[in-house]
């Protein structure tokens, strides 16, 4: 049952929980998007994303200097069920909604090429 404990451990860290929540709302996100929204350093974001990658939660795609990540959980898998439960719990939390709003603002600003979101990813 070590594997199950490890699965739940993925969600036992606030930063990882936020990342999964952000990824759940979009198809794919660049490391720089997550940095921008969470206001954390690139090293912290990348470390947690690699952790999630090695446990099979996400897949990566390189785009120039930046890495992009998307969720890769199989429908009906324990991971999928955990994400659904997480979504259910978080959807009623104002803090979680605010994060999603911030992500939309960030992506909109990036689309308009504003300096605030000037990471050179497409």
């Amino acid at each position: 049952m070590k594997k199950e404990a490890q699965l739940f451990k993925s969600l036992a860290d606030e930063t990882r929980l936020k990342m999964l929540w952000l990824l759940m709302g979009r198809e794919e996100l660049c490391v720089c998007d997550i940095m921008g929204v969470l206001g954390t350093t690139q090293s912290k974001v990348s470390r947690h994303l690699r952790y999630l990658y090695h446990l099979g939660w996400v897949t990566d795609r390189r785009d120039g200097v930046w890495m992009n990540y998307r969720l890769s959980v199989a429908p009906g898998s324990p991971e999928d069920k955990q994400l659904k439960l997480l979504a259910e719990i978080l959807s009623s939390r104002p803090e979680a909604q605010a994060l999603r709003d911030r992500l939309e603002q960030w992506l909109a600003a990036k689309g308009q090429g504003k300096d605030a979101a000037a990471c050179q990813c497409s």
Binding site: M1, F8, L11, E14, L17, E88, I89
Partner: protein
Amino acid sequence: MRAEARFFKSLSDETRLKILWLLSGTEELCVCDIIDVLGITQSKASRHLRHLYHLGWVTDRRDGLWMNYRLAVTPNSPREKLLKLLEEILAPQPEAQALRGQLAHILEAKQGSLCAKRLKPDRQRSPRSLPET
């Protein structure tokens, strides 16, 4: 969202996961039952149970020398949903089923008596007359 992370942290430890799995299959368990089934020390079992207690997963009841624990989840709470998910994930697993089987075996051998084999002989005969500690 720190509370949610802490919530999932309850299940991020293998021993706590096993304890919750055992508790969700029965009404109440003595610390000694958990010690026997999981083959862990009393201090480890008690530490994890206190952790779960402080996070609101279980309630306790003292019975002589031993503490008894039961799940304290309200219907439709996130906690209950997480337990159901755990149940769903673990139920098909032989390792998890073996744990429940072991527990049933131990409880049957005990047959309602207190954790007799761990008490001194004179206490074994009349566990109810234990001095209040």
